[in-house]
Amino acid sequence: MQTISNQKIKDLPLNRTAVLIKQNDTATLKELYRANFTKVKRYVLKNNGDEQQAKDVYQEAFVAMWRNIKDDKFSAESETAINGYLFQIAKYKWLDHIRSVKYKNTTFINREIEYNEPDTDENEVQNRKIKLIMDSIGQLGERCQLLMKLFYFERKSFKEISELMAMDEASARNAKYRCQEQLKKMTQMIPNGYK
């Protein structure tokens, strides 16, 4: 695993950080998380929120930031620092929350940045599918969950996985295939996208 010091991450050009985020580099994600929470917390506390709400809104924002970087919706050439981007998302999410509590029917807010892509039919189906998958992963056996996590999140090779899980490489390959088929079956959708 790559370890990046605090100073180093500050000096990274944005696109380098974006690449590391896309690869789910744990050290990078953790450092980004650590570096920005306090500022968001201060903002939420100043605006009638409590610590738990700050944490919730921050984690939502973090996922939104991660998604947008994965989908290249946040341009890496932009001058805006990624830290600023994350803060902005959290801030707008908090403002949305306040507004939705205060005025239940106010929906449109003129934002400087969009953090949620307006859903087209196609990506609405895809998003629903992703959600369904996330809801179903927990029903897989632990061995399957770990395999999928090592392979897709940590981007480990089958060789590394076989070492970590004390099995040979071919078995790791087969097991991953079977786990994935199982997950697919659990999340099979009828054509309109509803289960």
Partner: protein, 244 residues
């Protein structure tokens, strides 16, 4: 790979799609792949489905990592170590400490030396997960085996909070803390592991508890801990301690 128009949903296809989505294909193979997607909508939907699975697994894992990320914020003290003079001071203190540590411990036999010569973390349990239903525990074990002790500890502490009587968790929390340099915390867990004579880890817990005590220079207590031990490793260790 069969490149005719038959769309196969098998392991080979799944691995090829993985290679494409995880950007492991060379440019030529990539171009072929994209061509195939254009020609065969069924193949394309297979790719889309696999893409959703990858994203689902990733997002699920990310969200599950937040507690771990968050726990590091709370503990962090607010200090600025940026200025060069601080760094210089810190460096010189560090040098002073290491020189004096060396001076103290390189002379004669010492408890630290016995500790260093004898401490090897428990190799851990196999992570095949066939015997237990606890995913987090085994993921912690994967961390432990990779020597990511802090991560293993934070995973196991969460389990410990919910199951304070689980002897396996208690024992490994003890060993992981010791491996992580935190003898005091290790002692706490190993002492409670030692109170469970029926546990499979009982003998090993005594051995590591003695080492934790040794690390804290508590030679007498370490001797007492091993007094009734019968395992060969403990007997050898006791002998070495007695010669201190």
């Amino acid at each position: 790979m069969d490149t005719n128009n038959k769309i196969q949903n098998n392991q080979e296809a799944q691995e090829l799609i993985d290679a494409y989505l995880l950007e492991d294909l060379d440019p030529k193979a990539r171009a072929d792949f994209e061509e195939r997607m254009k020609l065969f909508p069924d193949f394309r939907s297979l790719v889309e489905e696999q893409k959703a699975i990858i994203r689902g697994v990733e997002e699920h894992t990310l969200k599950n990592s937040f507690e771990d990320f968050h726990s590091e914020i709370v503990e962090e003290p607010k200090k600025k170590w940026q200025s060069p003079s601080w760094l210089a001071l810190a460096a010189s203190v560090l040098i002073l400490i290491s020189v004096s540590t060396w001076a103290i411990f390189s002379s004669g036999n010492s408890s630290q030396k016995v500790f260093a010569a004898n401490f090897k973390p428990d190799p851990g349990l196999p992570t095949t997960m066939s015997t237990s239903s606890n995913y987090d525990f085994y993921y912690g074990m994967v961390n432990y085996k990779r020597k990511e002790y802090s991560e293993a500890i934070s995973r196991w502490e969460a389990i410990y909070a919910a199951n304070p009587e689980n002897d396996t968790v208690i024992y490994f929390l003890g060993v992981a803390n010791l491996a992580n340099g935190n003898a005091r915390q290790a002692k706490k867990y190993l002492q409670s592991a030692k109170e469970k004579p029926e546990s499979a880890f009982y003998e090993d817990a005594q051995y590591y508890l003695a080492l934790a005590l040794l690390k804290e220079n508590k030679i007498e207590e370490a001797k007492q801990t091993l007094a009734e031990s019968t395992s060969p490793a403990s007997i050898v260790l006791l002998k070495e301690i007695k010669s201190l």
